[in-house]
Point group: C2
Chain length 141, copies 2
DNA sequence: TCTCAGATTAGATATATTCCAAATAGTTCA
DNA sequence: TGAACTATTTGGAATATATCTAATCTGAGA
């Protein structure tokens, strides 16, 4: 996605394409990792235009609401963000909290009777265990 | 599970059965909701023995490590805890953050090639959307 | 060019969680 | 039993994370 495409995707969702908001979106898109808000804030401020902490948080919130960015909560750690590219699942490391992508595959939905009056928007799978690095570290002791 | 059973399950995992730790475990087991650490702290302190905030957090951490309690991270909100009864999945409300149980069903694991050198301990499904209450509230406007 | 809702800002504030060092309470074993 | 050892508890301080506030700025459309 190039600059124009980012601009368009923001405006389609009623968000102005401000330099700060653009910078957050562009940064997240070029990462394959899952940056925290603090990392995003720092990265955006290494280049112009600068952005305040509040604006970084505001923009992350707005982008999540608009469906352009996914937020991943990790127990005991800061939330991580992910510019929705192709659909995928996540692996979260029990030891270091690292979030990694796992190729998408269709998951069987539960019986609708089990969902009652709830409205289900999505259905994600989270794999847990040890990332490659932590698994290695663990076995070599 | 009665008192003796709780005591045994703690000791099997090398944890002393202290009054504070027991109280946390017993409280979580009698809830069908998913209390936060703050709610647990408050509940435990409505009855004897009392427990400090640090001890409540310590015990929740120890119980999670021991595999007796599950921690559920919710974006932008305090973590929630769940005394592992029967295996189940979770539904998390986009609006109010409520965590609800969904009957367990087996999920297909991804191709092992997609997991590389990771060690996968578990594979959970999280449903997202609006809980019954928020769905009602939403449609009646 | 004017207007104004949307956006940004620095700093204060709120919330959630962990750390710390001293005191206490179980457990083991002489 | 009771000394010795260790796990646990404690209150308060400290840290981490996230949101709020009120003043100011910006840019898209009229
Ligand atoms: Mn991802
Ligand atoms: Mn549950
Ligand atoms: Zn790891
Ligand atoms: Zn709800």
């Amino acid at each position: 996605m190039d600059g124009e495409a980012i601009k368009r995707s923001l405006e389609e969702r009623g968000l102005r394409c401000t330099p700060q908001r653009y910078a957050v979106m562009a940064f997240l898109m070029e990462q394959n990792s899952h940056p925290t808000a603090a990392e995003t804030f720092e990265a955006v401020n290494r280049v112009d235009p600068r952005s305040s902490r509040a604006t970084t948080y505001n923009n992350l919130r707005d982008l999540v609401k608009a469906g352009l960015v996914r937020e991943v909560a990790v127990e005991g750690r800061a939330a991580r963000y992910d510019a929705q590219g192709v659909r995928h699942h996540h692996f979260i490391c029990d030891r270091c909290g690292e979030v990694e992508d796992v190729d998408w595959y269709e998951v069987r939905k539960p019986a609708s009777r089990a969902l009652g009056k709830r409205y289900v928007r999505e259905c994600e799978v989270i794999f847990r265990g040890l990332c490659a690095r932590c698994a290695r570290r663990r076995s070599s002791r």
